[in-house]
Symmetry: C2
Subunit: 408 residues, 2 copies
């Protein structure tokens, strides 16, 4: 089903807000057989709404999704624009108005006469329920095109899409889509592509989309034919399993936290160049406190000696950014917090502090597990914040790969 | 000057990428007298490009900015679509082709015949230089509308906008804009609006835009009339100075770091519920190591006692999430790292762990400066990650407000 999106609001055109609604819709309709072929952002005025609908009606589109402008204020003109466009004469829905009054009163709020606009229903169209807000959606059928207006508040729009619109798309598409997201890290898009080129050529009825971001590449695999889809998935796994950290669209810190909790393994972190970012990511996961015991961020040599018991000689002979210091930090924090695992980062995030021998982006990650310890060396080539981010990502991935080995 | 934006690429319509180019352009043209009145994202095919241009030519627009599709691959059809649209017969630019060959050879890369497409110049239009990439821009004048195509790579697009397009917009707009961004935190958009309502009504020729985000509200103040602009700015300052942390579009951690470095004040953090997020933000700022000495993330009571020397009695009598523990943690870390300031967070980030007396979102922030210490209490009402984020923001703001007081 071919879909056009119209997002309405001056905040989308003056740089106040990124249009995340259109992005979310585009990403998710695919799962139900939908395909966005064009999107438009326009100002909130009647003429622009009408001309945007006219534009889409001239294209081979079966559905127009509109977001924004269904609120109660004078700026919210989407409903009236649609009534006007379809030459409709909406009816006042007194039972919904009573319901609105009750909702506002129960919250101790004054119901404004402005809210009355939300209690109308179209004669020629339909109302779409809003389970979590007061602005209901509006739907019209016109020349075999379904036109649906939804609120611009992301939570309400998403709820309406989930409850009412996705089922419609799926029904019209009359197809069921098999769908999987594989999240990878530690490999570039082009290398992944090379490894999967044969599979991509072989399974022509399976769509393999590469969704790269700074910390990794997600693969979105989809197809109508279940047999092809399953075979493709199996072959993809065989090619790139090493790099896949999640099949359930989870962030890496969640995968790592779940592994730690499940295996009852405790961990602590000694962060220098990452400044607390690893601890921050791990503690985003609820329930991690049974495994994650804490962190020492030791930014100076003094603190590395005093708090992490790194040998002064090690620092003098090898420097703070070295394999030896990374290992000593990992062991130091592991002992300090009495955890199974200690993980450390030490590096030169930049932009200053680099030398010919130890350039900006040089990072060592130390890993200690029980009586084993080792260090990993990296040369990143980004700016300060990105070097910190990629260091934390790599550290989390090192934990994951080492936890995987424990099973073997 | 009224502007329309066309962004080209399937990645913008299948959910692979958020359209940050259109957002950046919309936000920045305002400074040069431009105003985006509509934007469209379309697939990379000739017919869609032509119909998008046709659509805009029917609106009261003076400039169309196009991004994407100027690369060397078969998907990159923007240039050809424009030649076709304007019935142009481009000329092969052999000197640019020589230059391309030299660039590729110097990088040890093979120059592909595909790159030849980048060496053509329009007969009826103009070339726009690209200072940092190989894809030059293309510009046409048509029915008093300037149509400019730029590469989709954000860095190259921005460089071209800065070098060539902003000057054009400013020249056509024939106005100079006075412009300031004031960043605030700790106050809601609606409260800020109430405080500024009078000023907004008074300075009708000054535009005051509210740009809210989760951690604060930015105010974008702009106006052509320098006298009004200056008076408005003065009055806005008088109303809301307390909440403004930056006039230079800096993040809060940069403002705080600069204050610390300038005042030669050292700091350490004791993070519980924020899990390392404050340290992470502070260490995003280059040069902070002269002031920021490190952090102890103590997730358990044991570690609060052992590493931060919080009295066991304090924890037993008042609990880990209490004013007393927050203060003890701040003093503990201040002593441990021998810094002027110690700052601590302890709270219930959620979703679990709340009680009737100590609900999810209860957070104490402890602050110790030399021999002074105090705690601040908050009741946040967000999800786990957002509670962590807002706690770190508030902690940084507490440091800032206390550093400000030192001057007085």
């Amino acid at each position: 089903m071919k879909i056009g999106i119209i997002t309405i609001g001056s905040e989308l055109l003056n740089g106040s807000r990124v249009d995340t609604n259109a992005h979310w819709i585009a990403k998710n309709v695919i799962l139900f057989g939908g395909e966005v072929i064009s999107k438009k952002s326009i100002l909130d005025n009647e003429a622009d709404i009408a001309s945007a609908i006219n534009y889409f009606l001239k294209t081979p589109i079966e559905m127009i999704l509109i977001t924004g402008g269904l609120g109660p204020t004078h700026d919210d003109i989407t409903a009236n624009s649609l009534y006007e466009y379809f030459n409709d004469d909406p009816i006042f829905d007194s039972s919904y108005w009573d319901k609105l009054n009750k909702i506002f009163t129960s919250k101790g709020l004054d119901v404004s006469n402005l809210n009355k606009s939300q209690a109308f229903i179209p004669k020629k169209g339909e109302i779409i329920p809003n389970k979590i807000g007061t602005a209901r959606g509006i739907s019209y059928n016109h020349k075999n095109v379904r036109i649906i207006a939804m609120p611009g508040i992301p939570k309400e729009m998403k709820s309406m899409m989930n409850e009412s619109v996705f089922p419609l798309i799926q029904e019209s598409s009359k197809i069921s889509i098999n769908y999987k997201i594989l999240r990878t890290t530690g490999i570039s898009e082009s290398k992944l592509f090379n490894m999967l080129e044969e599979a991509i050529g072989k399974f022509v009825d399976v769509n393999i989309a590469f969704l790269p971001s700074f910390l990794g590449v997600d693969l979105r695999i989809s197809g109508h034919n279940k047999t092809s889809f399953d075979s493709a998935l199996k072959e993809i796994f065989a090619c790139i399993e090493y790099y896949i950290y999640s099949q359930n669209n989870e962030p890496l810190e969640e995968v790592v936290s779940k592994m730690l909790i499940e295996k009852k393994i405790t961990i602590s972190t000694a962060e220098s160049c990452t400044g607390g970012h690893i601890g921050d990511r791990l503690t985003n996961i609820s329930g991690v406190s049974s495994s994650y015991k804490g962190s020492i961020v030791a930014y100076s040599n003094d603190q590395k000696i005093k708090l992490l018991h790194v040998d002064e000689k090690t620092l003098k002979e090898h420097g703070a950014v070295s394999e030896e210091t990374a290992i000593a930090m990992a062991i130091g924090v592991q002992k300090k917090f009495a955890t199974n695992i200690g993980i450390s980062t030490t590096g030169i995030a930049g932009p200053g502090g680099g030398t010919a021998k130890k350039p900006v982006g040089l990072v060592y990650i130390g890993f200690a597990y029980n009586s084993l310890s080792k260090a990993y060396k990296f040369n990143f080539k980004h700016d300060r914040v990105s070097n910190k981010m990629i260091s934390a990502q790599v550290a989390l991935n090192i934990i994951r790969k080492n936890l995987e080995k424990l099973d073997k």
